[in-house]
């Protein structure tokens, strides 16, 4: 990370929400986009677990593009921070991720799927055609057995890949999902212009 973004918060207080609220109105809010690739949405849920801290955070950031906001935008805007949950499984996801990378300054891989591949990468041990056959032809719940072949359906890659195998990632936040406190720590550090430091107290891989 080269340039610090957001207003630098110099003094730490124990109550994070109070701290965010106490900060005087920032000259410009940090623009954020979040993206949900091959993941379970749990990381976004964990972000929402920031609870009342979201109110303070909303004074500092603007979420312009996200599966959890209701703003309709035709095209992905230019943002300061891109937060991505999930790994890259298909052509469409790769396209979206690359687009976000182009339009953001800092890209954050949020959660284990984005960092390591995690559960979507379980299929990496098996050939793609076996995976598709298991899901669409052999699965007990299938009424008709047909592997989707419409040209509109994005093509699955032979392996699910963590983000950093596709684009440059600036910050990894592990966890399945990362705890809301960890997300808060990472975001507030970034807003303060620092890179989060990881140790046994804030790291969780599960």
């Amino acid at each position: 990370m080269k340039k610090p973004i957001g207003k630098k918060v110099t003094k730490k207080t124990t109550r994070p929400a109070a701290k965010a609220a106490a900060a005087p109105a920032a000259p410009a809010k940090v623009r954020v986009a979040t993206m949900w690739l091959s993941g379970c949405s749990g990381c976004h849920m964990s972000f929402l677990d920031l609870d009342e801290r979201l109110v303070g955070l909303a004074k500092l950031i603007d979420i312009l593009f996200s599966p959890i906001v209701d703003t309709k935008v035709k095209d992905m805007p230019q943002v300061d921070v891109g937060i991505v949950e999930g790994c890259v499984n298909n052509t469409d996801q790769e396209h979206e991720l690359k687009m976000l990378r182009d339009r953001c300054k800092i890209l954050i891989a949020l959660g284990d799927c984005a960092c390591t591949g995690n559960i979507p990468a379980l299929r990496n041990q098996f050939p793609l055609k076996d995976c598709l056959a298991r899901a669409y032809e052999q699965a007990e719940s299938n009424r008709i057995s047909c592997i989707p072949n419409d040209p509109l359906v994005p093509k699955l890659y032979p392996k699910a890949r963590p983000l950093q195998e596709v684009v440059k990632v600036d910050l990894h936040i592990p966890g399945c999902p990362p705890d809301a406190d960890v997300i808060w720590y990472a975001l507030t550090e970034l807003l303060a212009g620092r890179m989060p430091q990881w140790n046994e107290k804030n790291l969780r891989y599960d």
């Binding site: 284990d112 960092c115 390591t116 990894h172 399945c176 046994e200 790291l203």
Partner: protein
């Protein structure tokens, strides 16, 4: 003497003392300086595989693994520097990327995993190498545990444990480079293994979740469990148990590393059979109804029924039979009632009565066995009945090249390590000359004998051996280690309870109207013990048979009244092991249902 000389070196600027021959890691840990490790485990040969314990030595350009590098006096060691941190991080990242170490899918993800712990300590939030996602097999064919190669880091702790502690060397490492993996008996599955004893030490010593206990799976992280130390009551060794308990359930059972008897090692009986086997527990008193079926009853009704039968029978028509596994405290209670009954006995396996007739405890038997350079087995099967003894014998033979001679014992896996293995004992001079030759030069011989050494053949062997030892002046007398099968039979015999190996005639001696059997928590109610001399119809002829037991069995099936007794993990009291140590049982779980302690039940029946 160089052995007593001390060396002094500086670690991280702190002056540390140690002995020559100690490794840097040993001295550092003794001086409370922590160096991260994964493949190192105290008690096993250092392997130098994981490379986490690397340190810098001043004046040397390269880093060295501290677990395998002997300390040199006067050297200056650095255990933590940016360079070492960087190397350790890279090593850990390589480990993470090599196999499928995905914490969310692993039951060891809450503080039980060494790899995860090191990842946290080193602040690894991202692996810079490409994940390989290899397709790794999982072997679930072992009865009590499984191995998931996806989570293996090839630290080799299981291999060394299997080789150096259990002494069977079932596990080893095969293939090269990236295909390198742990194998069982030259590429077999666990179910096909002829050498695995299911001791489960590999599981306890695995730093990751590669080896896991099936019964412990998803019962909760060990790190969150309460640990209770108690004593195994499956054989007269009395191994120390470390029981992991959570929410009144046993999560796992490991050996107690501080126990002088087993020093952390267990056999399949103590490690798994007591808790991982499905056994039907008796939790309330049962009375046999008029239709011949056992029905639940209250304690008051059951005791009233028994006391009625006790009163109706004359003194000569009453007998008490106990399992040889009851505690010393129960034995004290039992002996109070000898005046009220005709016969008091404990049922023991064939020929064990002679072993109990002169109860002799060999203090320090386990240490002597571990130290022996010639081990003679007579009439006992350690690998079936006393697993930890068998492990000590195997390691003595394989690691210290001790001689092993087996006489008059059934076939077992120990046979293949034996210098002389005589299932059938010959009396020819040539054979005994060979025996004498094999024992030539033995400085610390140990004779491990069991019940079958008390047969005429066994006694002959013992006599001849003693003649061999006496015939060579200057040779030390062998340590005699008697191994009964009954857990507490030696102490019970010493307390004055008659050992009965032939239950049939014992019961038949005078007609009985009331027989009380204390089966305690023997898995088969002790029916297995009774079986050999069991006369099936015999119990049917006695009008009132009371069985107090922890589990349903063939024996409780014969009873008119069944009383629920506490089992090993609910008991308190002591047992005396073959070394004469009084070892404490501590309640691990609350008493289940209406079960009561053996002694308390006896009090309410006979007092």
């Amino acid at each position: 003497m160089t052995a007593t000389k001390k060396i002094s070196l500086t670690i991280n600027g702190k002056v540390c003392a140690g002995k020559p021959g100690q490794t840097i890691l040993e001295i550092a840990r003794a001086n409370k300086i922590d160096i991260p490790t994964l493949c190192y485990l105290k008690g096993l040969t250092p392997w130098g595989g994981c490379r986490l314990c690397i340190v810098e030595i001043e004046g040397s350009p390269k880093v060295v693994p501290s677990c395998t590098t002997p300390a040199v006096g006067g050297s200056k060691i650095i255990t933590n520097s940016p360079r070492l941190q960087g190397l350790r991080k890279a090593t850990l990242e390589l480990l993470f990327s090599e196999r499928n170490h995905f914490c969310p899918m692993c039951q060891y993800n809450k503080g039980d995993c060494g790899l995860q712990h090191q990842g946290y300590l080193h602040g690894i939030n991202n692996v810079r190498y490409q994940y390989l996602y290899p397709a790794m097999p999982v072997d679930l064919t072992a009865k009590y545990f499984g191995i998931d190669h996806n989570r293996c880091i090839l630290c080799g702790r299981c291999v060394r444990t299997c080789d150096e502690i259990e002494g069977v060397h079932t596990l080893d490492v095969a293939y090269r480079g990236i295909r390198n993996r742990i194998v069982v008996d030259m590429l077999k599955k666990f179910s096909e293994s002829e050498t695995c004893t299911s001791c489960g030490a590999c599981v306890a010593n695995c730093p990751t979740g590669a080896f896991f206990d099936k019964a412990a799976a998803f019962r909760g992280p060990l790190a969150s469990c309460q640990q209770v130390l108690t004593t195994c009551t499956e054989c007269p060794l009395g191994c120390g148990l470390k029981v992991f308990v959570k929410e009144n359930r046993i999560v796992n059972v490991w050996g107690d590393p501080d126990s002088p008897v087993n020093r952390g090692h267990l056999c399949v009986k103590g490690r798994y059979e007591t808790w991982a086997e499905p056994r039907e527990r008796i939790t309330q008193p049962l009375l046999r109804g008029k239709d011949g079926k056992l029905k639940p009853a209250t304690w008051d009704n059951a005791i009233a029924a028994i006391r009625k039968a006790v009163k109706a029978a004359k003194k000569t028509e009453k007998a008490l039979l106990v399992a040889p596994r009851v505690t010393n405290e129960t034995a004290q209670t039992i002996t109070k009632f000898t005046g009220k009954i005709d016969r008091l006995g404990m049922y023991v396996t064939a020929n064990e009565a002679a072993l109990c007739s002169d109860p002799s405890f060999n203090a320090d038997a386990m240490r002597k066995l571990e130290d022996a350079d010639a081990i003679i087995i007579i009439g006992v099967q350690p690998s079936r009945d006393h697993g930890v003894v068998a492990a000590r014998i195997r390691t003595a033979v394989r690691k210290r090249e001790a001689k092993l001679l087996i006489f008059h014992a059934r076939k077992s896996d120990l046979d293949r390590y034996a210098n002389i293995c005589a299932h059938e004992v010959s009396l020819e001079h040539q054979f005994w000359d060979e025996v004498a030759a094999a024992l030539e030069g033995a400085q610390r011989p140990a004779i491990v004998y069991g019940a079958n050494a008390m047969t005429p053949i066994g006694v002959t062997v013992l006599e001849r051996l003693i003649k061999i030892f006496e015939g060579h002046p200057g040779r030390r007398a062998p340590a005699l280690i008697g191994l009964p099968v009954g857990t507490n039979s030696l102490a019970l015999a010493a307390a004055g309870i008659e050992a009965v190996e032939d239950v049939g005639p014992w019961l038949d001696a005078k007609p009985l109207k009331f027989l009380h059997i204390v089966a305690s928590d023997a898995p088969d109610g002790g029916a297995g013990m009774l079986e050999e001399k069991y006369v099936p119809g015999l119990l049917d002829e006695i009008p009132c048979v009371v069985v107090q037991a922890g589990y349903r069995s063939a024996l409780t099936g014969k009873a008119a009244v069944v009383l629920p007794a506490t089992i090993w993990c609910e008991k308190s009291g002591t047992i005396t092991n073959l070394e004469g140590r009084r070892l404490s049982l501590r309640p691990v779980l609350p008493v289940s249902g209406e079960a009561r302690e053996d002694a308390a039940i006896l009090e309410s029946v006979f007092a």
